[in-house]
Amino acid sequence: MKTIDILHETYAALASNKVRSGLTMLGIIIGISSVIAMVSIGQGAQASIQSSIQSIGSNLILIMPGQQRAPGAQVSAARGSARSLTLADSEAITKDITLAKAVAPETSSRYQVTSKGKNSNTSIVGTVAAYPSVRNVEMDMGTFISEQNVKSLSKVAVLGATASEDLFGLDANPVGQTIRINSVVFKIIGVTKAKGGSGFGSQDDMIFIPITSAQRFLAGDDYVSTISVQAKDSESMAEAQQQITDLLLKNHHITDPTLADFSIMNQADILATASSITGVFTILLAAIAGISLVVGGIGIMNMMLTTVTERTREIGLRKAIGAKRADINIQFLIEAVMLTFVGGVIGVLLGWGISIGISATGLIQTQITLSSVLLAFGVSAGIGIIFGYYPARRAAMLNPIDALRYE
């Protein structure tokens, strides 16, 4: 039997019962499209988290105050309350670690901020002049905090894009105006460009002030909450991280590295952790959608078994006029595969549409990858073969005499 004839017979058979073929296909369409849409959501989330992690800087090593633990004691303080890093540590890193290109200590705390008639609770970041280069911050208007500002404890502030919008409205130029942070008056000298990305805590809803001013006027102490270190290049990250660890352990007089009172991580670690979390999330979504695909496959099998029973006499006739077992087998198998394949194509298109629709709502930027489309095709063809195999075999094994007599 020629391929073209098989396809023709298949089309004729499926077209002769359009409603049933359509409904059966619907199961596959729903299965495939939900797999495509779910995977695109998962991968979109992954991409958005990755880009927001990358947007915080490049070749970044972050040092944060860690658990303060007395030797032997298992009680540890929460990280936020730990106070173990100071400006001295930051200065030591700047001085001694040659692999560090730039070092930016910061303090971060939420305070009440008021402008003319507007009120907001925003994250106030006290930092230094190196911050923009370390953390990839670009200026929209005005200038960032200078070294001079830091040295002289200036009461100047740089607004993040969202903070500026909240306090002064859209498209306003607040440079030169003043705000009150925790009742202390600060003069605005600049506004940063929006970075976008909301996954990892918005980088835009912040107000930057000199770290010395933050410590003196707001916090009243000299601890820092994070030291961001930019390594020279990606190759020197691991070495720089090790050198910083050794330096800080020495300066803090800690001999056992497991008892370190700070934690240090690099961007690659954060990225890897986030990727593995979103990867699991994607697999979970795909698995749930996969269940509907299996249900669709069972629908195919059900329909094919019904078809074989209904067409028993036709099978008998075909055998009587010379069809071999293989001819019947392939004909019914192709019918099942055709259903799943056409369903797969429609499902991919539908899933694509759904993911574009989700992107359009702005909730999450979905991403369709070639691999997920190919996988969906492969799976749908595979389902056709797996769930079509048994009915086709049953048709092929029919005895022509019994099949012709079948009522």
């Binding site: 039997m1 020629k2 004729a12 006499r313 075909r318 006029i321 077992r325 022509p400």
Partner: protein, 235 residues
């Protein structure tokens, strides 16, 4: 052309064995028109299945065109059916929702005849079966019983088989339509020299053949030329 030697067929259902054919021997030459006649349960259907290469005998030999068909595998039997035998069934067995032409072309699909040739051969077969050309593209479920059986005859002819096996071809037709169909067989036999075996339980139908093999309880009762043969005049 057909040689049946001591053919027996036993059906085994659990512990019970039933012998449908108890040793049947006859030969049929090319160009003959033979009726195999017997009441239900006589073994004529079993004989038809063996003659049609749908089944193999339990013992004995069946030679079709000097080829031993009695021990072939299922796929080889399919080849024999495809190339050498044309079937006409009582219940027609046309494909529903397919046109007349397409129904006739189905055997050619399995014979892998070229696309262009199929149409020509199907039309020739339909004409030979006396089917009206204006209905070629009708769907098979729009036809009358007589027309359907002509399509079935055309389908049996399309592969140019040596042997046409007709199993109660008039069983579902009224007398008048049945006569016309039997007339078609007579014409195919006489004008085109086709070998035809007609299986029936009706004496009236059997009398249209040239020779009648009477079968009862799995044995041949009589085998003789038809007395008072009925010949349908065709226009």
């Amino acid at each position: 052309m057909i040689e049946i030697k001591d053919v027996t067929k036993t059906y085994q259902t659990g512990d019970i064995a039933f012998q449908a054919l108890k040793g049947v021997t006859f030969t049929i030459k090319e160009g003959e028109f033979v009726a195999i006649m017997g009441p239900s349960g006589s073994g004529k259907s079993t004989l038809m299945h063996i003659l049609g290469a749908l089944d193999t005998p339990t013992s004995g030999k069946y030679y079709l065109n000097n080829q031993d068909v009695s021990k072939l595998s299922e796929d080889h039997l399919a080849d024999i059916r495809r190339d050498q035998i044309g079937f006409v069934f009582q219940s027609f067995n046309l494909l529903p929702r397919a046109t007349v032409l397409r129904n006739v072309m189905v055997p050619l699909i399995y014979a892998e005849v070229k696309e262009e040739e199929r149409m020509t051969r199907a039309k020739e077969a339909l004409k030979a079966a006396g089917f009206d050309e204006s209905h070629f593209l009708h769907l098979s479920n729009q036809l009358s019983g007589g027309q359907i059986q002509r399509v079935a005859i055309a389908r049996a002819l399309v592969n140019n088989p040596k042997l046409i096996l007709a199993d109660e071809p008039t069983g579902n037709l009224d007398t008048k339509t049945g006569e016309i169909v039997l007339g078609t067989f007579q014409r195919l036999n006489e004008e085109l020299g086709r070998t035809i075996i007609l299986i029936t339980h009706e004496h009236d139908v059997a009398e249209h053949a040239k020779r009648i093999i009477h079968i009862r309880d799995g044995l041949i009762l009589s085998d003789s030329k038809t007395h008072n043969r009925r010949v349908i005049k065709h226009s």
